[in-house]
Symmetry: C6
Subunit: 76 residues, 6 copies
């Protein structure tokens, strides 16, 4: 799977995207039934508590990715 | 999108601002309907549990941004 | 705003104070109505779950500030 | 046990796998009865709040593993 | 206040103690009424969810303290 | 107490064990009555939300221990 090839991302935007992907793929790895995931999605997307909790997972994954890329310090 | 151009921020205040933006944009990326987000907002802004949880997301995003800027150690 | 001028704090005590300020200011930035905040405060200050969650936000902000100050290793 | 031999993983994909294993083994170490775990599993796999919380544990374990492997910076 | 003098601790045991103190003092700084704190204590000490959440705060504060002391690597 | 002597662990397995011990001892330090702890245990060991939250505490303690041991990079 492509998202598991490297933490190195050319840009911050790509890094952010990878953080989302990792977070989403973890859910998919635990709840493996795509039908169930599809049913669950609208529920949590309207529940602010869960939206905030999801944001936290993204923030943690992103922290790892940002470290891996030296915060894109030399990019620009 | 501008907030995805760089983690480098001239000042601490700008870095803090970016932390808020990242946190907010994550929510928007999961709940893509602006109308739903608008409806959800008053609810969570009056629920201290959710306010505290949101603060935690901001704190984690900020930690990453502060690292990226060497904590603005040489700024002043 | 003064608390957004620098993460550098002369003493550990000042650093701890800044962690509290950052945490509090995040809440104020999300719930901008001071009247609502005033009403919310007594509620969460008597709810141990929320007190503990608030402590966690302070602990994360403090971790960032402590890093920024090299843990005040050479202070004494 | 094999997963407790080393944090060094040849690839990012293996590192991600180890993060899942560590998270799962912690649960198993606290709830030692495999029958109970089997009964609990369907419940939490349909509860988005718990799926998100699990993702967070995986994200934290992964952060440690990624650090241990220098983010697989020199792998490709 | 003594616990705000330094993060440097001679031993791991003292560092652990400081983590507890910091966590407890944060609660006391938010809920300033000692009588209310006294009343709240038995409630959360019998609620495993809150005990676990408190442990997490201690773990985060300890992480900061352990970093500050270079993990007591050269102590023994 | 032995677990408070050093964060240095010969092996990853021992480090993982220490993470569990630290997490458990924090609970014991807050809820000091062993009889109450004994009564609380079955309850949380069957509640997946609490099992996941406990796993998170272990993950954070382990992150600190892994750092302290340079991730056992040179062990094998």
């Amino acid at each position: 799977m492509d998202y598991l090839k490297s933490l190195q991302c050319k840009t911050l935007a790509k890094g952010r995207e990878l953080a989302f992907t990792l977070a989403r793929k973890t859910i998919a790895a635990i709840q493996t039934d795509p039908q169930v995931r599809k049913e669950l999605r609208p529920k949590y997307a309207q529940d602010t508590t869960q939206l905030i909790a999801s944001s936290q997972v993204v923030a943690i994954e992103f922290q790892t990715i940002a470290m891996a890329n030296n915060y894109w310090r030399y990019e620009n």
